[in-house]
Symmetry: C2
Subunit: 318 residues, 2 copies
């Protein structure tokens, strides 16, 4: 099998902890802490940071300080700062923030779209057209997110044609960067490979990234499958921050440090300094005040050697 | 990429929880509970169960009841029952147990071998020759385990030549089934693919299986890489039981249910009934009295659908 020959040599990490993670916390994280964490993330080498969201503050009070966050963070050269934009009202709020990009967000399945945003996918797509136009007018790159593309908590598996339809609709409004989301962590490597290969084949001028949750332990296997399909953009959250309202006991986004650690080990470049990211993860753990779903944060890096202990008393292997 | 075309259609699961898992618990698990759990595992469809170990009871008191366990379990047809055999004294103890197989155990790296078993790898190999011979005399299949083959806590990465050397030594004593172990959970998919492909190429008459720990979250990615290298035998432990003395905060073996769940989703047959395995996992959780490292036990299966809730009050996507 020619599994490794075709792996990309470099991928880009889009850090989504400040948006997808902070909004999942029960408590409001003080703006000072948010700004500190985003600034620390800016120094890790990530390609992009989804810094906040202009969703209605009543819907997501945890991110009601979006304006202040975007004003106060120190933008590092080479890092793309984006905000999540759910609708035109949010987009109008986003214009003065001067983000590098907007991430438009909608669900590929109607049931999830209706339960989450009170509108069908079709209506959500129509609602995004003026948002994409406003982005263009303001010289902001509009990217699109496709929630539930890799599985829906209400409908299960999503036909490829449905995913393709939404991707084509995004493309028709000038969106050429699309994040394919496994919102509830149900995707398996074969599905990821099929969907990502299929999208790349059908829409070669669109850059498709992957947004994974580690709910069923498959996130890094899915990364591997996606690499094999030529995917070079991955969303992840420091410390595995983030939750999922419809999967009790579920874990959050794939942790940035676990992702970078695996890619480092495999010789796939990310530009991210793993030690710096682990330091931010420890900081994030203090800020949120609970253990994080990050294997490398718990266990340390693969390369860390231990001193050999003395021989055991009773010669039996354990 | 032809990633999927060559995947095996069926793999065998070797359940190691009763040995690798129970020995890692601080408390002695009562023999009754062990027998119940092994009998429950016998009904899940696993190909093999590593039921216990004949290591010296002073070294591993948790498995001091090996004889009683092997006598009292109800052996299901089609399931291979094995015991771990560390040395000749253990092998002599194992003969009357009438196991289907013995798993010979040694470390590929000297530092780990010395710290764990008070002898070099070379000495351990010499010590295994009479064990393999005794197995043959008694009509028992001798399999070999190669601890630290995919990484050593004291030496780091292990050269392929060293792994091959130990595999060849096993083969020379008539051992044609070898488990390649990532004892401390440091392997990455590229390494797994390289080592497993290399071994299969150099020793095509030996059946190589993989023994993974999920310490750094890469276990299922490593499974995927191994499938790509043609591996069809995997060790795993119900509930992810098992620990690692040299990696604080580390998780145990890859959980059988997480492994089966991913393979089910991918259409790779295991013969294991996932619901039955999840039931055993819940039972095991009660027996050990602490949470288990099992994503699917926590989050449920990918295919479980939820009822769509009513639309949210404030129309903003989360």
């Amino acid at each position: 099998m020619e599994m490794w020959k075709d792996l990309p040599g470099r991928v880009e990490i889009n850090e989504v902890g400040p948006r997808d993670g902070f909004q999942a916390e029960d408590d409001f994280i003080p703006t000072d802490r948010k700004v500190e964490l985003i600034d620390a993330l800016s120094r890790t080498g990530v390609a992009a940071i989804q810094a906040t969201s202009v969703v209605h503050p009543k819907a997501v009070p945890q991110l009601a300080d979006a304006e202040e966050v975007m004003t106060r963070i120190e933008r590092a050269p080479g890092v793309r700062y984006t905000v999540l934009v759910p609708n035109l009202r949010g987009a109008e709020r986003a214009v003065p923030m001067h983000a590098d990009g907007w991430e438009l967000m909608l669900s590929v399945t109607d049931s999830h779209s209706i339960s989450n945003a009170n509108r069908s996918t079709e209506d959500a797509l129509k609602g995004m057209e003026p948002v994409a136009a406003l982005a263009r007018e303001n010289g902001v790159e509009a990217a699109g997110s496709m929630a539930t593309a890799l599985g829906c908590p209400f409908e299960g598996r999503v036909p490829f044609e449905r995913v393709l339809y939404v991707a084509e609709a995004y493309r028709a409004m000038g969106v050429y960067r699309i994040s394919v989301a496994d919102t509830v962590g149900v995707a398996d490597p074969r599905l990821v490979h099929e969907i990502m290969s299929g999208l790349a084949e059908r829409l070669p001028d669109v850059k498709f990234g992957l947004h994974l949750h580690n709910t069923r332990g498959m996130a890094l296997a899915n990364v591997l499958a996606a690499l094999g399909a030529g995917v070079t953009e991955f969303d992840s959250a420091v410390g595995g921050l983030g939750g999922c309202p419809f999967a009790p006991g579920a874990t959050g986004n794939v942790s940035t440090e676990d992702l970078v650690h695996m890619l480092d080990q495999m010789g796939v470049e990310t530009g991210v300094d793993l030690d710096a990211m682990l330091a931010v993860s420890r900081e994030a753990r203090e800020v949120v005040g609970h253990p994080l779903e990050s294997a490398v944060l718990r266990a340390g890096k693969s390369g860390e050697l231990h001193e050999a202990p003395r021989a055991q008393a009773f010669g039996g292997p354990r």
